[in-house]
Symmetry: C2
Subunit: 349 residues, 2 copies
Amino acid sequence: MALGDKVRNNQVLLRHFVTGFPKDSDFELRESTIELSIPQGSGVPAVLVKNLYLSCDPYMRTRMAKSLQVKGYVDSFQPGSPISGYGVSRVIDSSFPKLKVGDYVWGFTGWEEYSLITEPEKLFKIDHTDVPLSYYTGLLGMPGMTAFAGFYEVATPKKGEKVFISAASGAVGQLVGQFAKLFGCYVVGSAGSKDKVDLLKNKFGFDEAFNYKEEPDLDAALKRCFPEGIDIYFENVGGKMLDAVLLNMNVHGRIPICGMISQYNLDKPEGVHNMAMTIFKRVKMEGFLVFDYYHLYQKFLETVLPQIKEGKIVYVEDFAEGLENGPAALVGLFSGRNVGKQVVIVSHE
Amino acid sequence: MALGDKVRNNQVLLRHFVTGFPKDSDFELRESTIELSIPQGSGVPAVLVKNLYLSCDPYMRTRMAKSLQVKGYVDSFQPGSPISGYGVSRVIDSSFPKLKVGDYVWGFTGWEEYSLITEPEKLFKIDHTDVPLSYYTGLLGMPGMTAFAGFYEVATPKKGEKVFISAASGAVGQLVGQFAKLFGCYVVGSAGSKDKVDLLKNKFGFDEAFNYKEEPDLDAALKRCFPEGIDIYFENVGGKMLDAVLLNMNVHGRIPICGMISQYNLDKPEGVHNMAMTIFKRVKMEGFLVFDYYHLYQKFLETVLPQIKEGKIVYVEDFAEGLENGPAALVGLFSGRNVGKQVVIVSHE
């Protein structure tokens, strides 16, 4: 295909706003076409990209609902339009001086084969291609930067502290645990299957791990794993787990709140009853978004790229092949079907 | 009475651990006697004090229960023994070099006429007696220091920010509001009666105030008072109010958690459902205790004493006369019977 050709551009659309758990059928695949060049005369710099890898992330659930109108947060998807999210793409046309044809980029793109990106200044150019490109949807992309900022900047860890991570085998959790181990912390994770618990202990080097679905008493499970209490809880799930953690926090403990995946599909989120523990134990809870920390991205790369190459950090990805399998992969996040970072492969090159 | 005399020493005892709302009858007055001198040969420095003013504070509810075993927090009261709390006292005997007979002090003491204090190094010597001594149970004591630390250190305010305070006419709240106004913030408070709301608006200079008992929809009340959202919520009550506030916080808002008086008497605290808002809005919630900030006490005095003398800060106290009326005053906190800082006068001199 040459620049200017008109080609097929399959897209994933949201059919309608979602309540409850999302289903594959809340999405549809639409075949459209696109001309492989940037439209003339728009006046603003743009890039046309071929999408290679799309990232499935829990926060995307909030974008499937109409009601979440929060200033400063990402917008909801529009029913009848392609959804968007993080992805890795190759530039095939550019009127933006900092990006040229052939460059690889990561950042917000459409769930489609080709995307015209009109805010190219928000893309990250990929300079290091000697690691798997899919890593820029996870380990070296938004989730990796989230883990890095949440652990080092928000949790402000000290060597020897006791760290608990929920959804610990996920895109963010697996990294937080490895960062914490390298930093000299005692690290425990929870996950939702035996396979995931095995990964935590045997692949990611967690000190302890448990399957929350097999623990009738989360408070007891935490007391078993943390006889000396929890200093840092990296919060990915919310609800009952947060309530149990609050009973087990140490004085001056910190809770970076990264996500609450157990709550996003509920009409009314579960109540958290033990908030007064934050007073008695002087606990800091801090919700954060990676957007506020992207100025640290170069520092992050300089830290993590060598660790990857030296084998000190590993990363588990779960691939769905083909855009048509994207909706099932995305929806699978909310039943914990993925093992590790969920990626959709749109194209291998 | 002379040093060495044996005199009456009425005491307030906890009869038994309390569940639910505390009642006067959970306490009893016991008449005992005490010798007005420090026992010989104990080997540790001590002071014997005459108690003048006792402080009624919401945190004391947690000490009436057995179950709250939190390392680093204050101990529970012991049934059958006198309760303790903050108070203002006069030294009548001392084997502690830094305090001499006639000195006034504030700090932890017993709910009794005279107390032998065996940790005198924890007392604060009162150097400024040209203000009402009762102020050292409130404005110039633990609650004042709590307001100062919570507002300036935990909330890290910026001029022009929008501040909401619950239990706003209480010992801490009335001060937080005045600090915030002096700092250049927009300030709204909630309280539980028309009289208290009038105080907030007319005496303490709040921009707006509402009676939470007359607001069927707390979210709507907050939206009415904060069309531009809340930057700082000074949390004194917990439960439903916190849930409503979370819906109205601005991006990068801060919630110093000082207390949760609405929750202390409940067998199971209310659930807080809107915790995910802390992520979308990057909100920091931080439980704190004044103990961690007493190193700022001199700075606090240097700031606040001139403000009192210049009339820039006022303070409303609610006095109960006589130790025998102490239990009713203490219990009254939990139904909001007090207007302003609740003090028990044990003796006027």
